[in-house]
Symmetry: C2
Amino acid sequence: MEPSMRQPLVMVDTALFTIRDERLCLILARRQEPPFAGVLALPGGFVHVEEDADTAMAARRVIRHKVGFDAPYLEQLFTFSGPARDPRGWSVSVAYYALIPLSLLDQSQVAETWPAEALPPLPFDHSQIVAQAVERLRSKATYSSLPAFLLPGEFTMNELHRIYEQSIGARLDKASFRHKILEQGIIEALPDRFRVGAHRPAQLYRLASTALTPFERKI
Amino acid sequence: MEPSMRQPLVMVDTALFTIRDERLCLILARRQEPPFAGVLALPGGFVHVEEDADTAMAARRVIRHKVGFDAPYLEQLFTFSGPARDPRGWSVSVAYYALIPLSLLDQSQVAETWPAEALPPLPFDHSQIVAQAVERLRSKATYSSLPAFLLPGEFTMNELHRIYEQSIGARLDKASFRHKILEQGIIEALPDRFRVGAHRPAQLYRLASTALTPFERKI
DNA sequence: TGAATAGTGTCTTTAAGACACTATTCA
DNA sequence: TGAATAGTGTCTTAAAGACACTATTCA
């Protein structure tokens, strides 16, 4: 290698999903600095070689700084690159996506949630990143426990059912869903714990594993 | 951003699959320069911001230079990063994997093929890259036309059958495989073209699409 | 008791896998 | 004609989806 060789800029960008009002939403933040200062964009920033152990840690740092909490589920999405995607020069952005239960978001002022179907115009190639993140979420939702990470620690079967429908973007039969989820064993009932309300109380469940669990077949 | 900020080194590494002697193999090349000069490794190199349009193009350039041909199927695998994976400093490697029909390899002297199950010790974090690439190949083989890209342009049903078995690493029923492949419509018969040999001639097929086609269900 | 949500049983359709069978070639 | 590969038909089992049913609560 020639040590004089010009290197690309290296950054991370994050697509942060949440569910608000029964709709799939993304968390956007106003950019503090140029380029595009004041514009809504995906939370992102440069990799800091002095403090980041790898790009995943850089993404966690960005999320913590920009929206104020740690991400319960974070996964590398894709790496975008080229001379034109950022006006500052040839750049590489390692994109991540994360799932955030809405309950975690209440304390955060900096961040705003926008429905995934009606986002404002985004700078850089952020629309492309969002499109790919939505596709990945929809795809993984059909064969893994992924959407459950959008819920708080305890939830009912019907809350889980709805979150799967919203993640996938399609209706799922109630009975079949129940059978399949229970046979996959991704959740466990909390003994004698029920959500009480206006009607018949509902059994509370929690995830059986803190890690993503893939299914044998589609949900 | 602070323009003075130290940036990571940016490189690409490629896991190149082929089938030789009915076994899944990887193409390795001896490193020409330090570090690890003379050692077998995945073909890789730095991104050249003056000539590469993006990291995928950098990967294509590396493949062309190191093994002498263009890759028929190339896909981004994962981005590896950190201060320790390369002795030259904090680095980001965008890893790609590609499928190469053995017929393309004959002219190449620089490259050697090694069975995926019995690779020599590899420098950097290349073993990790290989492990992840094998996992991706096995996984995609179960629900897409991916393994067909390991074959030359024309092939018989049984050649396709064997290449799926070798990619997935499991036995597949001959009749079921035939039914599913034909109902997926990923291949088309070449009218009146047969592979003749010692026994009953076999219908020749080709891929219906030059792009990867995902299946509705597992093969 | 009726409205609303929670939870279950069962039937039909469709796919997956096993396996046995027929077909065509060459030596 | 027998060995080897090519290609097909059918039966059994299991899963997916639809849908109707029962259960429990509150107003």
